[in-house]
Amino acid sequence: MNINLTIFGQVLSFAIFVWFCAKYVWPPIIGAMQEREKKIADGLAAADRAVLDLELAQERVAERLKEAKQEAAGIVEQARRQANTIIDEAKTRAVEEAERIKVAAEAEIEREFNRAREELRNKVALLAVAGAERILQREIGAAANSELVEDLAAQL
């Protein structure tokens, strides 16, 4: 157990090791560890933010869904009203058209009826004249004849 030069050798090598460690070992390792710590802290913060963002997004989605449903309901309601209006209009127009057709048909019938009656009256007058001719068995003047026919026609 002699104290000898080894003690100073030890002091010297210790000094060199500490210098080496301080210059080449400690700073990069501690730097990397601190950087990782920061990274992890940032990551955790980001995760927290993401959870918050997700909640917000879900709220927004729910809101938009509600809006969309309301909008859709509104559109359906409007469409139904529009359909009813169209149907009502069509009905009205159909009734009007029918009325118009009916009136036209009645007018046509009236006209046909009048014409037929006129024709019939003329034919009946001619027939009466012919009958009278045969009954009288004689020729009557054309003027008198015409006058007679007119007269008969007016009586019919």
């Binding site: 002699n2 030069l5 002091v11 301080a22």
Partner: protein
Amino acid sequence: MAAESGAHSSGEYIAHHLTNLTFGQRADGTWGIAHSHAEIAEMGFWSINLDTFGFSLLLGIGFQLMFRAVAVKVTAGVPGRAQNLVEMAVDFVNSNIKSMFPHPSATIGPLALTVFVWVLLMNVMDLIPIDFLPKVAALAGVPYLKVVPSTDVNVTMGLALSVFLLILFFSVRQKGLGGFAAELSFHPFGKWGLPVNLILESVTLIAKPISLGLRLFGNLYAGEMIFILIALLPWWIQWSLSVPWAIFHILIIFLQAFIFMVLTIVYLSMAFAVDEH
């Protein structure tokens, strides 16, 4: 083992294990390795323990290079195995510094890391079977080989002396020469008790490196001694004592390295602390 061979007595075996491989100048003026205790005594102070100093250098260089290799390709991303190990050591040291050293300093981290890992590695040498390396060395013609650097008082006191020099350096740097002198002179009894104060404070100051170095030396030396004594038993029974002792010794190895580091940090923290009075 040695007990079996009749050439050595138990006393010789123990003495052999406690002798360093010493290089120095013999009485006749030639330089070389001492082959006996008499030669070692002749060499006196101007000699060097090749074994403990060599192993401590080897371990220190190995540790620094390994840590450097990790530091070169260190990543803040997912660390590899080596980086994990190194970071574990660095983080352990750093957390101790954070809790015990409230001053800003770039020196304390590398210092504490070097102290802790180096002392730990030197202590770990104690777990190598006691006769293994000396026997191999004897085959190569080396007369003595002490494997565990921290069982050499030169090594532990060398470290303690370094710490002591740092205490003095930082005390003077932080407080000035006058401040440091005042700290030694005016505590604990005020200025009228100056001589007593000076004696008490000087003893306190000197006791720091001595207790630091001798604590480590004593613990490891005692541990080594018990391994040597166990090795004197017949070979077939040795395991029943050496295995439990080795397992228990793992605790001591770690604990002594830890204590050495903690005390280094605490002493330097005291050196940094500027007096509030």
